[in-house]
């Protein structure tokens, strides 16, 4: 086993452990912090898999902003998780079926890291070989994000704008007047 594989395996194991612990936790504060840890570990995994831009974003957003928002939310609602009866059987059945469908789907997947997989041989080589000519910047992720698929990024900005409009609509100052109940 090479060093890359070992790093991968151990990060994945730590991720799994984090979720197992998180499922069993009762304190919302601890849960929020563990979910931050989860994001942070995934950011590490993204670095190990060469996705530095994604890792950067995941660390800033998943571990950073999301955690801050969750903390602000539990300061509104109180930190104690109310314990009540959980449904167990149906959710377990659902995830077993879904998980099984996915595992079944992996059986014909190209092996992990295979450079000859279709995903690496159709459109992607064009980005990697032509973008220095067509765009002229070294970071191919930026080239694809801002130019080849720049329209998706406009959509992404629209999504986050939608979130802002939604939050202002729901919680903005005057919400107190038209109170529900």
């Amino acid at each position: 086993m090479d060093i890359e594989t070992i790093v991968n395996f151990s990060l994945l194991t730590m991720l799994a452990l984090t979720v197992v612990v998180l499922i069993r936790m009762k304190s919302l504060l601890a849960i929020v912090l563990s979910s931050g840890v989860y994001s942070f570990l995934s950011a590490g995994l993204f670095v190990a898999m060469d996705a530095v831009d994604v890792a950067f974003t995941e660390a800033a957003v998943g571990a950073g902003i999301t955690t801050v928002l969750l903390l602000a939310a539990i300061s509104i609602t109180g930190r104690r998780q109310t314990v009540s009866k959980h449904k167990r059987f149906l959710p377990l059945a659902v995830i077993t079926i879904t998980g099984a469908a996915l595992i079944y789907g992996t059986l014909d997947m190209p092996p992990y890291g295979d450079p000859m997989a279709p995903i690496h041989t159709h459109v992607a080589p064009h980005y990697l070989t032509q973008s220095s000519e067509e765009i002229g910047i070294p970071n191919v992720v930026t080239s694809v994000l801002a130019s080849y698929r720049g329209y998706d990024t406009l959509g992404e900005v629209a999504v986050i704008f939608t979130a802002a409009v939604g939050v202002l609509l729901l919680l903005g100052r005057t919400a107190k007047k038209g109170e529900h109940k």
Binding site: G64, I65, A72, N139, A164
Partner: protein
């Protein structure tokens, strides 16, 4: 938080916050060469403002950067992005086809990418700040 720790925290933040903001600018304009870009820069910039609001109180942050201004920044960012698209359309290209912006092909792509990344950065940073303000205000 008692006075003494808060003094230390404030002094540390006085140093950190400008550094974080500078870093955000670096990430914004260096995304073409290394990891980073508008989105990450916006988030980092927002983190600096949020840090300021956590240390000095949200009201103080809002005195410097009022909610209304933040909302205007959100709108400005997204309009800048879409505006680049409309401009390329008016200049005879397809939507977001940067090539028509300037004569040199690569220079045009550079300009387009620079502008839309700026739009992304402004909107994302402002949205994060606005959401934090609103959630925090609601909790009072």
């Amino acid at each position: 938080m008692d006075r003494r720790t808060s003094l230390i925290v404030r002094e540390v933040c006085r140093l950190i916050i400008p550094a974080v903001m500078l870093f955000a600018l670096y990430v914004q304009f260096h995304g073409e060469y290394g990891p980073g870009g508008g989105f990450q820069a916006g988030v980092i910039f927002a983190a600096a403002v949020i840090l300021y609001a956590l240390v000095h109180g949200r009201q103080k942050a809002q005195q410097i950067l009022p909610t209304n201004t933040v909302v205007r920044f959100i709108v400005a960012g997204i309009l800048l992005y879409a505006g680049v698209g409309v401009t390329t359309m008016v200049m005879g290209g397809n939507f977001l086809d940067y090539d028509v912006l300037l004569h040199g092909h690569q220079q045009a792509q550079h300009l387009g990418i620079f502008l839309i990344e700026l739009g992304v950065g402004i909107t994302v940073g402002a949205v994060m700040i606005a959401i934090f303000y609103t959630l925090d205000e609601f909790s009072e």
